[in-house]
């Protein structure tokens, strides 16, 4: 589904990503792990179009993503969340998931001004779809929450809303940047389960960056380990965690995660 070959990203002589090859098959959950500064988030930024690669090929469903604006990439079917939650804080919860359906809707300014049938049916669809997506997280983001500004949500709910917002773009591939960071163990376990459901029930392909090894172990089909912008290992969690190079670079330092 996603094929990346020979990806280079340089910031002023610094190699953030170095000759990275990466593939994701449809229906997979792939975890990207690595120490801080390994280039994980840069990798997401490149795939979502926010950073232009210096070199390399980026194919999504067989078509190149190079040179596309982020919004066009989202329209192709790649959505993402952010490591430091970035919601539209002064918009309501429902508006947050409505705005991210932008690239799936077609109404024009005149439709809104004239209240055409197209406008009304589309608004209703967008609203219902938004509620449906928020309903994925149980009752946490529904009911009176619809009309609350995103800024009043709790930290965990903001993370959930970010995922909901990504889902509302109707993607095929979701990039989750540390989805459980800052959550307590109970919430983290629950979200892990939900990520599994995202794939199994909603049919999304998922790439996630995660530091919490229990999450990685529980849900990922494959793991790719980045260090200094290079992929130093790939395979199942068991394979990777047994890889001496990985242990040396990284797992050897602490053992608490696994």
């Amino acid at each position: 589904m996603l094929e990346i070959t020979g990806l280079h990203v340089e910031f002023g002589g610094l190699h953030a990503l170095n000759n990275l090859d990466f593939t994701v098959e449809e229906g997979e959950i792939v975890a990207v792990i690595g120490p801080n500064g390994a280039g994980k988030t840069t990798f997401f930024n490149v795939v979502s179009g926010m950073v232009k690669p210096t070199e390399g090929r980026l194919l999504f469903q067989g078509r190149s993503l190079l040179g596309l604006d982020p919004n066009k990439i989202t329209a192709r079917g790649i959505a993402r969340t952010f490591q430091n939650v970035r919601l539209f804080n002064n918009m309501t919860v429902l508006e947050n998931v409505m705005v991210s359906q932008h690239c799936r809707t077609r109404q024009r300014i005149l439709d809104a001004l004239l209240q055409t049938r197209r406008f009304r049916t589309e608004e209703a669809l967008v609203r219902d779809r938004g509620k449906e997506v928020l309903g994925f997280f149980g009752t946490r983001l529904t009911g009176y929450r619809f009309d609350q500004p995103a800024s009043v949500l709790s930290y965990a709910n903001r993370r959930r809303l970010e995922i909901a917002r990504a889902m509302a773009t109707s993607p095929k591939l979701i990039l989750l940047d540390e989805p459980v960071a800052g959550m307590n163990p109970v919430e983290s376990a629950e979200l892990t389960q939900l990520i599994g459901k995202l794939r199994d029930e909603m049919g999304y392909t998922i790439v996630l960056i995660e530091h919490d090894m229990s999450v990685v172990r529980d849900i990922s089909d494959r793991v790719v380990v980045l260090d200094h912008g290079e992929a130093i290992a790939r395979g199942t969690y068991a394979e990777v965690s047994a890889n001496p190079q990985v242990i040396e670079a990284y797992l050897g330092q602490t053992t608490d995660g696994s």
Partner: protein, 630 residues
Amino acid sequence: MTVTGKISAIRGAGPAPAHRRRLLDQDWPRLLRAGAVLALGQVFIALSGMPVSFDRRLLIDPVLSLGYLSLLWLPLVVGYWVGREQVLEGMAAYTRGGRDVAAGAIAGLLGNAGLTLLVLGITHFDIRDPLVNWSPQLLDILEFEESVWLGTLIWPAIGAGTGALGGGMHWAGSRTSRTTVTVLLSVFGTAVLESVITDLTQGFHVEAVSDWLYGPKRGLTYPAAIAVAATAVGVMTGLAAYRASPARDGRTTRGNGAATVGGSESARPAWRRMPTRRAMNLVLTVAAIVVLPLFLGRLTNELLANVGLFILLALGLNIIVGLAGILDLGYVAFFAVGGYSVAVLTSPGSPRFDPEIPWFGALFAAMLLAGLAGLFIGAPVIRMRGDYLAIVTLGFGEIIRVLLLSDWLSGTFNGAQGITNVPGVEVFGLATVRGFEPRSVLYLVLVFCAIAVYVSWRLENSRIGRAWMAIREDENVAEAMGVDTVSAKLMAFVTGAVLGSFSGAILSAKVGSVFPHSFAIIVSIVILVVVIFGGMGNIPGVIAGAVVLIGILGGPNQPGLLQEFAEYKILIYGALLVWMMLQRSEGLIPNMRRARELHIDEMNQDVWLRAQAAADDAHNEGGNPRGGRL
């Protein structure tokens, strides 16, 4: 406070026992600072010329002029401010009392000592050369036309008095102080607004009221002042009684319930979703707005027409600045495009385009041209950083003004002479709107304001409106969520430009002429102040901002209610903008989009989680926020 003191204060959680402090147990450094600020302020006001130029304008017939009022309000405010000592939660609570009054009095006394110095200064030195208001007239006013000694001694006394009054507001309790403020405001308001109230009474054919209220020198007479004060007290008491009555409580709850239910309906058009009560209110308001101009006098209609022009401009800028978050400082360009296109196309006095076309045709052309101008100005700036964008748009605004003024294009725009003889608006043969009939202009303006409000309201709750808000919140994320930020921002420019061109088109028909100097940068700035003052991104807020500011102070080239302040208008706009940003950057009516009250449990959970995350960061490593657990 020492560290141990702090710790003991924290340990003794819960409010400390309230105690009464002695009169002179004050925060002296703070008082001195307040006194110094007040002294500077008073001397500034005195030297700015307000006392002299407002001296003739009486407020309460023989005793108080606007000139003296300009020297009285600041000690009151400062007195109120120093009386309000911050009471940190659970640390030091004390009963409000004489100490607050004393603080106000001391600050007022110290501050007005500045005026004493000024009196002595003016008697002994002559520096009228740079300071134009360092004049004998000012001295006369400061001395009450008596002697130097009176002048030097009375001001600190007055300061102590007004300061004490300000400080006493805290002691008196909220009811009393609110009543006092209302009484003061209504008396001075009635006095200051003499011209417009006279105009109103004439409109309703009750000139007797204004004849009775105002003396020959435009000030309130004694009995009138007392009557106004009494009315104010009466209204306050009546309102308080109404608020306390159970009947109203029942209604508010029902109203809220209806609003909540209404919000979640779906596919029906918006007007059908509106709860009946709100619809009724809307109908009543519209009816009032339609009927009212018939009863208003020339002056008020003229004033409201000006306010309306600025409401149009502010709603347009609100789409660009308030919704899409683009700081456009050259908004006046679109105003100019509207004004000049209509003038060039309709006026027989314009040098080019001879077959003149009717106003509505010209309006269509103006909209088209403004839209194009929006694209042309928008496209180059759209990818720039916010602050570069501000300067470049300002540059565009200035370029357009310079071009209108230039000899080069004077074949079309007639240079500095401007275009005159712009005819009025023929409304489909039914009526003609002309500048010398302010009522007709007001109706025209109201129609376009209604259009602008409708457009803003519909767009705000549509796909493009949500995209604009997302861009305002976080442009990069909006882009990553599939919003085509470039075209959305361009659309904001175009929509704002078209709304601004309405205003220009009406202006040129209203005034009957356009000149380049009507479109100076200051117009952009005033519109921006209106939008910010009212509350960015909020339609009622923006309208309220325009009504309050343009209505009272007036636009850059239009007089407001306080015509006396014309000279000080821009000074006040500048100060207001700074003050707004420092104290209340969300504006008069903040843009709390359907915000419900915060839920305390969630907030607490949030705080706890953030503390956890921070602890984790500290545990793992410094730099990366919310770093790994591995």
